[in-house]
């Protein structure tokens, strides 16, 4: 599933959060949204998820043009997107297993296959022994892997990762990036990862959309 931004701007009152953003991420491509805090990375992620609407311009996700689709289609687009957040966004009073099962239930996964799918992704992110624990009982690295497992469970066509390494130590950050790279290679799903970590961006030979003050300053493949 491709992501296309055409002349997208977003204002919050007098503040220009994004100005004339143009980029295209092809289906199956891995791209970084790179830039310092406040550069507009999270705004782009929010626009893709239709949490906010652009002030001007067009956003296309797969075949859907977000400015023209209805609420039902927004839900169906979201069902094809796996999301990973810096602060994990796991439901605190549900176990890791239940958090993953919830996303499968939302995406109307067959009821009798939910458990096997949960088992599969939990094994993939190496959280088998932590499956019955609650988010508060897990470390940062484990939480981010649980978040990745939830994203992977729905067989997403796009994975959006908003500063996923922001709360992780070096080792866990590298492990997560490696996992994302493997998923991109094996499943050919489009991955857009927002980060301000220059080492991570340089370590992979992937497309970079470099943002500063809401504008693209560079967009290239290293």
């Amino acid at each position: 599933m491709r992501i296309v931004f055409k002349q997208v701007s977003k204002n919050f009152g007098f503040i220009d959060a994004l100005k004339d953003i143009d980029f295209e991420i092809k289906s199956g491509e891995f791209a970084f949204l790179f830039g310092p805090s406040g550069s507009g990375k999270s705004t782009i992620i929010k626009l893709i998820l239709s949490q906010i609407t652009p002030s001007s311009g067009q956003i296309t996700i797969g075949k859907h043009q977000l400015s023209t689709i209805g609420k039902k289609d927004i839900d169906s687009v979201r069902k094809k997107v796996g999301i990973i957040f810096q602060n994990y966004q796991l439901i605190p009073d549900r176990s890791i297993e239940e958090n993953i099962a919830l996303s499968l239930d939302i995406t109307s996964h067959p009821k009798d296959k939910i458990q096997s799918k949960v088992d599969e992704v939990i094994k993939k992110v190496n959280l088998t022994t932590r499956r019955l624990l609650y988010p508060s009982q897990l470390s940062g690295g484990e939480l981010q892997r649980a978040s990745l497992a939830r994203a992977l469970a729905i067989n997403p066509e796009i994975i959006l990762a908003d500063e996923p390494t922001g709360n992780l130590d070096r080792q866990n950050s590298w492990n997560l990036v490696k996992l994302l790279k493997d998923i991109n290679q094996k499943h050919h799903c489009t991955i857009l990862m927002a980060t301000h970590d220059v080492d991570i961006v340089k370590s992979l030979n992937k497309k970079i959309i470099h943002l500063q003050n809401g504008r693209i300053v560079k967009s290239k493949k290293i």
């Binding site: 998820l49 949490q51 609420k71 039902k72 839900d75 169906s76 687009v77 979201r78 069902k79 094809k80 997107v81 999301i83 966004q89 796991l90 439901i91 605190p92 009073d93 549900r94 099962a101 919830l102 996303s103 239930d105 939302i106 995406t107 009821k111 939830r150 729905i154």
Partner: protein, 290 residues
């Protein structure tokens, strides 16, 4: 299944709010069931009097046998007269003694001479009673007093209507209070779970998906509250059934018909579900806006 699980999860995770919701529903249906049973009992009392068309004609003292017989003949001449019973002074005394057998002081003071003789007239068509009462009340030289069931029924109608109105007002007030409390409790639960709702929406859950577990929660409160409230009232009333029915003898104030209780229970459960659903719907509509 996931919705039931989510609903159970919501109930379990905020037990005091859930218990308050169930408790208020129980109180509401305790009052409603009590109102339904009392209303039915009052109907039984009314029906008892309505189906016993009777007029009692007290005759004046000192009438000779011929006059009494001519009165009896006149009464027998009316159509649809089922039975005419003449209660002589002596018989009236016997009845009085029987009624007051536990209080010898009252019976000692009374003799047959101070009690009036009377005719008790039963008819098959209640319409004829007013005609008899009207015609005989004109015979002031022979008739002392006429007691006509219509007066009793009219008084009872006024009282039962009053009791029913008061009961209905109390029941409506309780339902309204319950409705708002459930709606507020559901709203509080939604506020407590706003992160869960937001995350679910980001994962692609439709608005209905996130709403349905809260709607089911309201329905659960309605179902449990109506079942428990009705159950407690029914078992209490049935436990005291004999005592109550002895007091209202020969009327069966408390019904023994299981079908009657089944119908009331079904109606209350359906009403409970409706109240729970509508209250949670209001709560959900008010609080889920994202």
């Amino acid at each position: 299944m996931a919705t039931f699980k989510a609903t159970w999860h919501h109930i379990r995770r905020s037990p005091f709010q859930s218990l308050t919701a169930i408790f208020i529903m129980i109180i509401c249906f305790l009052i409603m069931s009590f109102y339904a049973l009392t209303s039915h009992g009052l109907s039984a009392v009314l029906q008892y009097f309505e189906t016993r068309p009777e007029v009692t004609i007290f005759i004046k003292d000192g009438l000779d046998q011929n006059t009494v017989e001519s009165l009896q003949k006149e009464l027998a001449g009316y159509p649809d007269v089922k039975e005419i019973r003449f209660i002589s002074k002596e018989k009236a005394l016997d009845i009085y003694k029987e009624q007051n057998k536990d209080n010898p002081l009252l019976t000692e003071m009374v003799t047959a001479s101070i009690l009036p003789a009377s005719f008790e007239v039963s008819v098959s068509d209640p319409a004829i009673l007013s005609q008899i009462a009207q015609n005989f009340s004109a015979k002031t030289d022979m008739i002392d007093e006429i007691i006509y069931q219509k007066d009793i029924i009219q008084n009872m109608l006024i009282w039962t209507a009053f009791i029913r109105k008061i009961g209905l007002i109390i029941a409506l007030c309780t339902v309204t209070v319950t409705f708002f409390i459930i709606s507020i409790i559901i709203g509080m639960k939604i506020t407590n779970r706003k992160d869960e709702i937001r995350i679910s929406r980001l994962l692609g859950a439709s608005k209905f998906y996130v709403k349905k577990s809260f709607l089911l929660e309201g329905v659960t409160y309605g179902l449990l509250g109506s079942l428990l409230g009705s159950g407690i009232t029914f078992s209490t009333i049935l436990y005291f059934k004999n005592n109550i029915n002895v007091y209202f003898q020969p009327i069966n104030f408390v019904s023994s018909d299981p079908n009657f209780y089944a119908v009331i229970l079904l109606a209350q459960v359906l009403f409970g579900i409706l109240v729970g659903y509508l209250a949670s719907w209001i709560g959900v509509k008010r609080y889920i806006k994202y």
